[in-house]
Every structure is written in structure tokens, then in C-alpha cells.
Amino acid sequence: QDVCATGKTITAGSLTVATGNPAYFPWVIDNDPSSGKGFEAAVAYEIATRMGFAAEKVIWTATSFDQAIQPGAKEFDLNLQQYSISAERDQTVDFSAPYYTAAPAVVVRQPVVDAGATATASSLKGLKWGAAAGTTALALIDALIGPESEVMLYDDTADVTEAMKANQIDATLVDLPTALYLAAAVLDDGVVLGQFPSDATGGLDQFGAVFADGNPLRDCVNEAISAMVSDGTLAKIETEWLEGATGVPMIQ
């Protein structure tokens, strides 16, 4: 075991990694992170290996989205759940260096497209929007789109898609890989209408692992991530698990 992580984990000798409950494709395949399949699962094992934890020393746990960003002591060492890094959150919890940069993308259902929705700012304004509360999506929707009607808020992405299926909302804003997954697998007739350029988001599109505030383990993880970036491992994992974003139009 690497000296860096020694004595800094909540269970000595093991690394406790949290993910969503449930954890979604393509971040984790089949809600089973211990298989190492899925982008975040693979990243987690790679980080663990680099910090000197054997695969069987990685303990998985599930937390809700809100739960992980509460202040206070944590039940996990690090939490990978597509958390966007933001200055406000950084006051309560600590973030690792970003392990992925995602463009925000708009997901709708086919009937909305049939009704004339297009990937233009003016068309998007008129749609009925929904998002998961407690994510950065609401801020992004307000900043990037400025919808005309009230934004509906839900506990998590599952409830957002449920509301889309119920036709209660037209569109939601999520990171591109999630968008592709929702459109392909969760919604019968989902369409990724468009994506925003990463530079338009004010830096709200970078995912980092979450730590309890002041957790010294962060530096070890950051070390591992920067090593993964520099030797191209991260890019390799990305191409293995995340689809290319080709064909999704840019929204101006």
C-alpha cells in the first residue's frame, strides 16, 4: 500500500467508495460498481490501484445525491456520482481534481421534437423544464436558457425522467453521457436535442469526486488522477465506457 493513503481511510486498509443509489449507466453498468464496469467504476478502481488498494479492498456503498453533499462526517472516503465542481459546494465538501468534463445536454422526447422544438435558444425558452434539485442543473438552465415557465424540481434523475414520461415536463438538462443514456435506454422515445459548449457553463461541467471537508485523502486521489491524465489512462477509460458525442448539435 502507498504511504499516502495510509491511515486516511475510514476503514483501515480499505477504500470505501460511494456511488449513486441506483447508479446509472454509463457511469456504472447494471448498478453493480464492484464489477468495475462503467466509467466511474473503472475510474474508481484505477484510482484505488494507484493508491495501493487491491480490487478486493475496495468497498462500495450507495448514497443519495443530497446525502453526499451534506456537511459533516461521511460514511465514505470518496464519492463518485457526477458531482459538478462548484465554489459553493466547495465550502461544505471537498472536491478532487476533475476526472471528466461534460457538456450539458438537453434531453427531450420525440413528441416534443415533432411539436417543433429545435436546438435554438428561443425554441428552448418555450419548453417546460424540469431538473433534479440539488444539482447544478437549475443554475445552468437559468443561466443558459432562461425558460419562460416555472422549472419543476425533483429528488433525482429517476424522478425527472418519470415526469418526462408523464409528459409533465418537456426537457431536462444533464451531462452529455447521461443524456445519451437517458435518450437511449430510459426513455422509449428520447432525443438528445443538443449540447452546450463546455466553455459556456462557467466551469459547472467538471466532475470531481466528493470528500468530507478537509479530508487529507484528497491529495492522494488528486495525485492519482493527475497521473492518470498524464499517462492517458483516463482518456482510455473514457473512450472505453463513454460514447463519442458526435452528431449532437451545438446550441448557440
Binding site: 459553493e88 440539488g134 422549472v151 419543476m152 424540481l153 424522478d159 415526469a163 408523464a166 409528459n167
Partner: protein, 289 residues
């Protein structure tokens, strides 16, 4: 029982209280003064201890910053108040529907004659099911499930189906309260109406229901106070009412003061309402004994 007429005349015959204070009155004034002093002092001491001791506890500053953050309170209050209007609106249209539908269920439950047995059965099942399932589960099932079947807008609104969920759950409770009211009317009232030759329907309409409904007003008030609080559960299916708004603010500010602010807003409505209901119940209990 003493009639009020007799009481009044007795009071009038006696006239005003005697001039000067009796020994008892003197002593009572003394006692009262003393107890006011003791109560004030002891309350003051306890409060002082709280105010002095609590901030000395380790971590108090952290607690204060996270829960009792003045600037945040002031900042979020107007928005939360705005969101609370959504709660009030939903309550305003749900409550009368629940009152009527609950009464209908209660009457079904009381339906006589074998041909109406399915009605009775329905009412029994209805009450069992909707009193047995947590409101939040009904909200999810009805609020997401039914619109998910492909209803066109605006018929799939979460406001609509959230309301339906509340109505389904709460009318079961209200129906039980009505039924308890109907059963609490003494059999002798039915006997008296029957002995005059009134039909079952007339007895219900003119003799039993007017008394029963009046009698269960306090119990029903408690149901409606609960309803006012459970309106917040609709936030789980989309409407940005006060609970959701507080949650959003909490996430944004990473601070629990918005929840505290929401609690304060709820208390401003529920405390007077609960107090009033308690008062009605106490009066009723007194009358009964």
C-alpha cells in the same frame, strides 16, 4: 343539570359583590403575586442559563452558522413565503373536495339494504387501503403513475394528480371521522326520530348528520392541519413549493437555515390552527362530561 335561566336569575337576585376584600381574596392576591414572581424568576433563570450555557458548548458557533444564520434567514424568507403560496393554493382547493368526498364515503359505509352491499364494501376497502398506505407512496403512485399512462397536457399536471393523491388519502381519514361522528350520536336520537315516523334518509339528513358534522369539526380540523403539512409532499413530484424551495436554497447555500425558515412559516399557520382545534376539543369534552 341546571338550566341557564335558573343560573341567571340566581345571579341577579344576589347582586354585586360585597364592598372591601374578604380574607380569602386578600390571601389569593398575595398568593397570585408571589407565584407570578416565582414563575418570572424561575423562567428568567432557566432562560439565562440557556442563553449563557449553550453558546459555551463546543461547536455552538458552527451550529449557529448552520441553523440560525440571520443573514441567510432574511435572504431566503421572501422566496420561501412566495413558495408557501403554492402550498396554500393546493390546500385551498383540496380541502373542500376532501370534506365532500369524505362525507360521501362515510355515507356509502352507512348504506343500508343488501343491494347496496357493493357500495359498503367499496367504502370499507377504500378506507382500509388509503389509511394504510403512506401518503408519500400514494403521491408517487398517483402523481407519476397516472399521468405516465399518456394523458395529454394539461390533464397530466402534477398539481392535478398531486391533489388527487391528497384527496384519496385524506378523504379516507375524514370519512372515518364522519363515521365516528355519526356513530357517536346516541341511539336514542335515532329512536326518537323513528318513533315520530321519519324514514331512514330523513333521520340521517335532519337529525343525525347536522349533529354529527358539528360534533366532529375539531377532529376534522386536526385532519386538515395535517393536510396543510402534507401538501409539502407534492414537492416530490415537481411543484416547487416551500419544502422544495428550502431544499434548493439549502443545497445552494450549504446551510440549514432555509429549513428553519420553512418551519417558522409552517408554525405561523399551524400553531394558531392547532390551538384553535385544541380549544374546540376541550370545550367539547367539557360539554360532554
Amino acid at each position: 343539570m341546571q338550566t341557564s335561566a335558573a343560573k341567571n336569575s340566581a345571579g341577579a337576585a344576589i347582586g354585586a359583590a360585597p364592598p372591601g376584600k374578604s380574607r380569602r381574596q386578600e390571601r389569593e392576591r398575595r398568593l397570585r403575586r408571589r407565584s407570578v414572581i416565582v414563575a418570572t424568576i424561575s423562567t428568567f433563570v432557566v432562560l439565562l442559563l440557556l442563553v449563557v450555557l449553550i453558546p459555551m458548548a463546543p461547536g455552538w458557533e458552527k451550529v449557529q452558522k448552520a441553523f440560525f444564520n440571520g443573514p441567510i434567514l432574511i435572504k431566503v424568507f421572501p422566496e420561501l413565503l412566495q413558495a408557501f403560496l403554492v402550498d396554500l393554493m393546493i390546500f385551498a382547493w383540496s380541502a373542500p373536495i376532501i370534506a365532500l368526498w369524505g362525507l360521501a364515503i362515510a355515507l356509502c359505509r352507512d348504506a343500508r339494504g343488501p343491494a347496496l352491499f357493493p357500495l359498503r364494501l367499496f367504502a370499507i376497502l377504500y378506507n382500509d387501503v388509503f389509511r394504510g398506505v403512506p401518503v408519500i407512496l400514494v403521491v408517487y403512485l398517483v402523481g407519476f403513475g397516472i399521468p405516465g399512462l399518456g394523458l395529454p397536457r394539461p390533464w397530466n399536471s402534477p398539481y392535478l394528480w398531486g391533489t388527487v393523491a391528497l384527496v384519496l388519502s385524506y378523504s379516507a381519514y375524514v370519512a372515518e371521522v364522519y363515521r365516528a361522528g355519526i356513530e357517536s350520536i346516541h341511539e336514542s336520537q335515532r329512536s326518537a326520530a323513528k318513533s315520530l315516523g321519519l324514514s331512514h334518509a330523513h333521520t340521517m339528513r335532519y337529525v343525525i348528520l347536522p349533529q354529527a358534522i358539528r360534533r366532529v369539526i375539531p377532529a376534522n380540523m386536526n385532519n386538515f392541519i395535517s393536510l396543510q403539512k402534507d401538501v409539502a409532499l407534492l414537492s416530490f413530484i415537481g411543484p416547487v413549493e416551500i419544502l422544495r424551495q428550502a431544499g434548493v436554497q439549502k443545497s445552494l447555500l450549504a446551510n440549514f437555515t432555509p429549513y428553519l425558515a420553512a418551519s417558522i412559516i409552517f408554525l405561523a399557520v399551524t400553531i394558531p390552527a392547532t390551538r384553535f382545534a385544541d380549544h374546540l376539543i376541550a370545550r367539547q369534552n367539557k360539554e360532554r362530561s
